[in-house]
Symmetry: C2
Subunit: 291 residues, 2 copies
Amino acid sequence: MVLESYLKEYKKLVEELLPTQIEALQMPSLLKESMLYSLTAGGKRIRPILLLATLEAFGKDKSLGYEAACAVEMIHTYSLIHDDLPSMDDDDLRRGKPTNHKVFGEAAAILAGDALLTYSFQIVTKANLSPETKLLVIEELAHAAGAEGMVGGQMADIEGEEKKLSLKELEYIHEHKTGKLLSFGIIAGAIIAGASENQLSHLKNFSYHLGLAFQIQDDILDIEGNEQLLGKPVGSDTGKDKATYPALLGMENAKEKLQYHMGQAIMELEKAEIQDSMLKELSYYIAWRQQ
Amino acid sequence: MVLESYLKEYKKLVEELLPTQIEALQMPSLLKESMLYSLTAGGKRIRPILLLATLEAFGKDKSLGYEAACAVEMIHTYSLIHDDLPSMDDDDLRRGKPTNHKVFGEAAAILAGDALLTYSFQIVTKANLSPETKLLVIEELAHAAGAEGMVGGQMADIEGEEKKLSLKELEYIHEHKTGKLLSFGIIAGAIIAGASENQLSHLKNFSYHLGLAFQIQDDILDIEGNEQLLGKPVGSDTGKDKATYPALLGMENAKEKLQYHMGQAIMELEKAEIQDSMLKELSYYIAWRQQ
């Protein structure tokens, strides 16, 4: 399948799966509306797509990964809701729409985030997988999303706003804030597919480099991107004096660093010895995307 | 063992277990401080103690429940951090100490809550139990803590502040906001102990009534309690025009309702046919406590 149709079809699949999980739950309607508002607000759905593509690269049926795919997208969504709050990044718009707290108020936004995070673990318990596999996925998800992963990265990011960051500090932030959850998609796909230890190790390295490449391109797009494609003003990070790769290294070196991580990513992917063609295409898309 | 020594000893045990889990993690120091601040801020530790007592009522070693006990207390702690935020209950003091966001700022408080919630699932995966048992505990915990449990109750509570509640609405709030997580302690203890379906069913009923009794006594204490024992001003809920059992039913009827739920709770506990003496004492303590 051509990459463009693949992305479109899998995004559609994920967007069909996501709300059905939440709609069936009994809860106050404002909470449900708030959860669904952000869950159905679009986005590239790149984390669940990477998970399904990894499963398929092992020749497995993608439906084995539906619950884990929904789980990672729910966690990504909760993190955006909380990040947008006034006491965090204080953003009014997300993908061209008012942010959750602008529509539902801060209390409902915080609670919708809490509920999505909590449900992401519950949904994995429902998957049609062995108990051992489900526990590995839950452990990996909690690690990627928690204090040693995404939340730790977000904390460092907020603290970093008040000082000049070193490259090492910037990489810590990016590896944790964005990288860990992106990596989870690939690692969970491999775990569910029953990857060997050797394969898992190469795919962890692959996902590490891919996560950094994703973030470097994000920084580059913030300067060179097309506002209409991005759905947010170009230069919004620079305006906030946020540390970025181009700001720290210069644009030329940032692009070289992107090339380096992509090279490493592809090398590691090949070493995993799986049917890697779609994962490779997805990697190039992630690194050179325009939005 | 006499109840008072039991409570003291088990509270000490839980308070020794809780920080060791977090201290070993690698994360930004501000995040760790914020998590530990609230986790070590005291409290009755009633949820983990109920869990350990339930295990022992089945003749099992309490150490089997250490991870689940820490998990439920971490979730209780995160819920207090988020509830105290300015956009929620806007509380400056909790157990006589400044609330988390007053010390660490709102962003760190939100993230500490997110990280505690996330870690609570991770810690259960580490328990020395069968994969099947751990998954049942995780599923139960997510259900009790999430949109169909505690978070749903908190949302209804916030929405309810703006209107006059019916008794049914008040019971929904209490059953979900406080009851579900309290019940979890008992249900998880029973699951880990390998309770029969019949025993589990009676213990679920027991925990439902006990949860409501806990909350009714909370409401009564807010009017008749001793400020020094409570660590907060008496009448703080009334001042906010919050719906409570005494406000809705009158003090006499509220106390009768407490009696009713305690009677039901003890009856269900006896039907479970376990060594129920300590659980019974704990129930009386919960219903008639003075703080």
